[in-house]
Subunit: 111 residues, 2 copies
Amino acid sequence: MNGDSDPLPRAEAEEYASWFKALADATRIQIVSLLARRRAPMTVGEVVAASGVGQSTVSHHLKILAEVRFVLVERQGTASLYRINEACVRCFPTAADVVMGKPVPAAPTCE
Amino acid sequence: MNGDSDPLPRAEAEEYASWFKALADATRIQIVSLLARRRAPMTVGEVVAASGVGQSTVSHHLKILAEVRFVLVERQGTASLYRINEACVRCFPTAADVVMGKPVPAAPTCE
DNA sequence: AGGCTTTATCGACTATCGTCGATTGACGAT
DNA sequence: ATCGTCAATCGACGATAGTCGATAAAGCCT
């Protein structure tokens, strides 16, 4: 049990931060909301077309989002199908969680 | 009403991102959780002592957190009293909000 | 096999961010 | 008035992150 006054352990703070970092970029927000609106998986090319940024940039952001399991990938032929991970959307920590010291949800777990 | 397929407008995405940016740093997370545990206002010096980073750094982070109204400031003599803003903690957007295109809560509003 | 398409990766450039130390500015106490 | 304390600001530095263009890798289709 945590005392009332000791700071949140650094390691835990960094886990939390890594969650928020994933959504701390406007382009990533656009991509995520795009994938969520279309509930069906999208190919990278489709995301590129819809988001207006370069292909390598989109690929990079999708990789970041996939690392937090925020989106899921599935290769199909030469294409990569990305879709939103509803479970991770739900378990994404809220500010209240941080503030109340709720244990950080582990990314792989919430799948 | 937003169609099902058009990307989230850039401006809105950036507003969202600015919320998440505020919690996208481990030190800031520690400071926030510190202020929340002590429900009473804390002076900058106290935060410095408890967080182990330099005074100017703490001041900087507190400024950032205050800009999103995540913490509230009140000067008292030479000291600055920072306390958590419960209202903004509650209205902090969740990942689900982003995904479903819920309108971004305006920082000043949620006070 | 050869070419085409799709995506991932690499390298480079820039901008932003976190941190520090030093300085400045306010305020209170003596 | 001066000194001491507290917090904010400034300047600098290193590190990280976003973007792009070009290249490479993998798979399909004739």
